[in-house]
């Protein structure tokens, strides 16, 4: 791999990182090594994450909370330890502000339903953008239908970037109560200016939710510094296991909000006809939590923090610049979103003229190359683009420029192969 040595100089030893991710050493078919460009769908899991999950399931698979035997104490310690790690990673002092969910989707639904029911009145507005994933659209549609609130969409620029002028105009009538925005588009990699969005929204009395599902795999998120009200992300996209996600919320809001799920652990007392809610974070964690998964997420956070964040960012910036240059040179390649890499993360949404994304993805798989094809759960964005589907190559810290070169080559050869005879 040509660029490994170069990168080493920057503080990220990519070949060592790659050794932590078993599939990268595999061949998907004899002689065809895997090139994994689907980290935006789910990231590969480093060995310590896999081991943390395995260890819990095999060695101390006990339920947490109020167990008084050795296995349960160990499980509880690992579980609550992971909460501390997540809190620290988000810049939060108080671990009770970290609620474990199944994923980003459940986290956003929790806010939409619980905060929404409490705060939204008919005519109130929720501001979204066409960059959003369905997870940050449909829950708001549902609560809007229930409360009589309305959705407003920020315009995108021609480059598919978040338009702050359009954003400002949505506040004219003073009805905006919530601004929910992705930290990074999962289709184009575009990063809305969340600091500025948060600042302006707060200044106008609106709450702010950041969908950090994509961004947190590439950059930190200091929720306190940003002063945001809610943030959501998924374990499986930040090198952790499936089945776990996080909702961060401001304490005053979480305390005022009603729980969404009823059951064990979220109550202090249950009588026949009423119950008294437990304190944070338990109030929002009904039932047996995803214990192995939370512990695995803790290991993933450890993994991320063990790396030099600056070096990772530099490496990923190198990847996206290389991808724009190399893939952009392929005949018929059309990039979705800005060609300038400054405002985006390492995700390349594209189409290849005359080729359906499904065929492309299918045929790339013959080359061992994993990308995604489809609407990527971002139909409003595709409607705006006037295409039903697109192809997406997404990169993570374990990818290399060399791999991207293989993608460019494969695109070229597929284009030739599919050429109309």
């Amino acid at each position: 791999m040509a660029d490994v040595a170069a990168v080493r100089g920057t503080g990220l030893d990519v070949s060592r990182v790659r050794a932590d991710f078993p599939p990268l050493a595999e061949e998907v078919r004899p002689g065809v090594p895997l090139r994994y460009f689907d980290s935006a769908a789910t990231a590969l899991k480093p060995a310590p994450v896999v081991e943390a999950v395995r260890e819990f399931l095999a060695d101390y698979p006990a339920n947490v909370h109020r167990g008084l035997h050795v296995l349960s104490e160990r499980a509880t310690e690992a579980f609550e330890g992971a909460r501390l790690k997540v809190a620290a990673h988000l810049g939060v002092d108080d671990p009770a502000q970290v609620i474990f969910t199944r994923g980003t989707t459940e986290a956003i639904n929790l806010v939409a339903r619980s905060w929404g029911r409490m705060a939204l009145k008919p005519g109130d507005a929720i501001v979204l953008s066409e960059l959003e994933h369905h997870a940050n659209i449909v829950p708001w549609q549902m609560i809007a239908a229930e409360t009589g609130a309305v959705l407003r969409y920020v315009d995108l620029t021609d480059d598919l970037e978040y338009d702050l002028d359009s954003f400002d105009r949505l506040f004219d009538d003073g009805r905006v109560r919530m601004v929910a925005t992705t930290g990074m588009s999962n289709v184009t990699g575009v990063r809305p200016p969340v600091e500025e969005i948060a600042r302006r929204a707060r200044g106008r009395g609106a709450r702010v939710l950041i969908d950090a599902a994509q961004s947190l795999a590439h950059e930190g998120l200091d929720v306190v510094e940003l002063g945001i009200d809610f943030a959501a992300f998924s374990g499986h996209k930040v090198f952790g296991p499936t089945g776990v996600g996080v909702l961060y919320g401001k304490r005053e809001l979480l305390e005022a909000m009603e729980p969404v799920l009823g059951g064990g652990n979220m109550v202090l007392r249950v009588e026949r006809d009423r119950a008294v809610w437990n304190e944070l974070p338990d109030k929002f964690e009904a039932g047996t939590p995803p214990i192995a998964e939370v512990i695995g997420l803790g290991a993933a956070i450890d993994y991320i923090e063990s790396l030099d964040a600056e070096a990772v960012a530099r490496h990923e910036r190198g990847l996206i610049e290389h991808a724009h240059a190399t893939l952009g040179a392929v005949e018929g390649f059309r990039l979705l979103g800005p060609s300038d890499t400054a405002g985006k993360g390492p995700i390349v949404g594209f189409t290849l003229d005359g080729t359906h994304p499904h065929d492309l993805s299918h045929l790339l798989d013959r080359h061992g190359i994993a990308i995604r094809a489809g609407h990527h759960c971002a139909m409003p964005l595709h409607t705006r683009l006037g295409i039903p589907a697109s192809a997406r190559a997404s990169f993570a810290l374990y990818n290399t420029k060399d791999e991207i070169d293989r993608l460019a080559e494969a695109l070229g050869s597929i284009k030739t192969m599919l050429r109309r005879r």
Partner: protein
């Protein structure tokens, strides 16, 4: 790295199917789409008694969805309606000459579903 699924014959059905187009008079027709990939298919059939005389299709989509529909059209011209309704997913796979993964199956069966739906008496359609 060639994929036998995308062989010459299949690409011919994709790019220049003789069954692409519209009928002057269709007895049955159906529009279907697969929102997940945006594939769209329109099929038309002309039937004489219980025999299928002509099949045409139109649509946008991936090689597999379009070629499979064309192959089905070829297979069904001259067949009985009963025969057409008797065809199952396995027959579509046989026409394509290659097994499909579950995800690709959805592409492969779009035309089959449309034809089935077109030929199914309306009061029985779910």
């Amino acid at each position: 790295m060639d994929d036998p699924l995308y062989r010459e014959e299949i690409l011919d059905h994709y790019y220049s199917s003789p069954y692409r187009g519209r009928l002057e008079r269709a007895d049955h027709a159906c529009d279907l789409d697969n929102p997940f990939c945006g594939d769209q298919i329109h099929v038309e059939l002309a039937v004489d008694g219980d025999r299928i005389k002509d099949v045409r299709f139109d649509g946008k989509g991936c090689v597999i969805s379009q070629a499979a529909t064309s192959l089905l059209a070829e297979r069904l011209e001259g067949a009985t309606v009963e025969e057409a309704l008797g065809l199952g997913p396995a027959d579509v796979v046989k026409l394509l000459g290659m097994p499909l993964t579950p995800t690709r199956m959805k592409c492969g069966l779009l035309g089959w579903k449309a034809i089935r739906q077109a030929l199914t008496p309306k009061d029985v359609t779910a």
